[in-house]
Symmetry: C3
Amino acid sequence: MVSTAELASVAPALEKYGRTALAPLWKRASLSPRDRSLGTVAALIAGSRAVELSHQMDLALDHGVTPAELSEVITHLAFYSGWASAMTAVDAAKHVFARHNISPAQLAEASPKLLPLDEQAEAQRAARVSEQFHAVAPGVVEYTGTVLFRDLWLRPGLAPRDRSLVTVSALVASGQVAQIPYHLNRAIDHGLTAAEAGELLTQLAFYAGWPNVFSALPVVKDVLEKRAK
Amino acid sequence: MVSTAELASVAPALEKYGRTALAPLWKRASLSPRDRSLGTVAALIAGSRAVELSHQMDLALDHGVTPAELSEVITHLAFYSGWASAMTAVDAAKHVFARHNISPAQLAEASPKLLPLDEQAEAQRAARVSEQFHAVAPGVVEYTGTVLFRDLWLRPGLAPRDRSLVTVSALVASGQVAQIPYHLNRAIDHGLTAAEAGELLTQLAFYAGWPNVFSALPVVKDVLEKRAK
Amino acid sequence: MVSTAELASVAPALEKYGRTALAPLWKRASLSPRDRSLGTVAALIAGSRAVELSHQMDLALDHGVTPAELSEVITHLAFYSGWASAMTAVDAAKHVFARHNISPAQLAEASPKLLPLDEQAEAQRAARVSEQFHAVAPGVVEYTGTVLFRDLWLRPGLAPRDRSLVTVSALVASGQVAQIPYHLNRAIDHGLTAAEAGELLTQLAFYAGWPNVFSALPVVKDVLEKRAK
């Protein structure tokens, strides 16, 4: 955690940009502060950016992300950014949760009643992935079905639209451009608007860096144009 | 380092997934726990995931990775994930080694007798890389020969097959898809089976994240199909 | 921070490579130690490699990078590697600056008189980016003009050539190959020579890892060949 005074003592211009560029960014229309927090926290977890992460988790709680949702974001990204990234996030969150007196009773259950599954869509997804990759890595194909799409994505503690927003943010932040089309389409199917997607990229330009966003832009554009047809 | 109790207090579902998904993962056939540890530690070093790294180093020692091998994995990845990633690993390993009473005498020598070199294969590799890139970056071409292929890869403290397994894991974990074909072919030449490669991807799905593995899968598939012809 | 003794106690070979490979690397012709430091610090900030970063900041100051320039490198990379990477760097720099008794008076002002802008070139850049991406993410297009090219790049505390060197280093270190052509061309326009670019890749092979450099090499080669025509 870096204080404003420390920031000003090392990079005065950055302290200024924090006031003149970042502060108004969070208030722009098209995307709520809550959604900006979800995307930002996801980007930081994806990159294991521990120093800034606890501050952003505090901010997320202030913006209306519930402790249960924050816990679920970490759980979700254990799979989309790797177990170790989630452990970095847990390490930060334990202090944030302690400061906010958040108790386990406020968090999502380990094994809740799952949301209903669209069996047909999942069967199609599973068949496509199995055809492509079962011969190469049967374990990956199996776990993608059992653990991810028949369990993790159906956990009720975080809305599917928010899971998708978090997933897309993590993909942009880690330069995983090839995986964006599937998950951005899924995000839009789950209710994310094109305007929100564009503004999420604006948020991520600041928090995941311009190059990651410029690498994602052509892919996002292509997804949106294909859907507009 | 995150304790199980801390994990459960922040993300109860993740603590559950640790028991229900990760624990059985480590016991799956096709890849030994030792090889899983090599791949996992490599993935974490590649991403400088410090929080989880010391736990995984402990586990690697439990799984039969020797201190000399672990030291050599760090040395190897100084070149394949950058010097700074290795320093993060050394910072974690110094505590792990102290806890296990590992002394320098147990580690690989700084300058051991090197394994024999396949001069013809190395001459071909060097000629190909030199033709492509000598005019652009003569220093890279030079060091790739002298430091990497005529020294690092010939160090006897880690078998060539294990060096390749570690290298491929680091490439997958850092999204370096373009470098996978050369190193996966080398891994298979050194004795890694196709089944082991597929199961390594399964291990890495959990520890490097699903997107990195899905970006690697088409490339791995292509390498395996070309070799099968 | 890892001491030499700690390094030798965990990875004796790495301590040897530090003496036999890294030490002479910093003294090679074609790129000054100062420029090597700029590239190395940028690579570490891009990857949030906290353990090695403070050591490399010390070294950069020894190599003639001024505190004002170092502060400006961090500011620059807040945008090119994301705000959180810059906060990791500030967290490291505050200790470095304290050790060196560096006071805010020595740093670049928050709001200095900016360098003159090439209005025509900027209008062309803005028009091209707007045409491509305004419909997708108007905020990104807007901020790229106002905050980056009409403000950040014009700050006088770091020469445009050095900003470009730092940007290209960060792109290589984070595997952002698609963004290299624009910024490498800009670097060369700003005075970086082809020999310096090649030697910067050599430096980055060690500090950002061989795979990142081998993924960048074909792109760098292509840029240089097109300019040679």
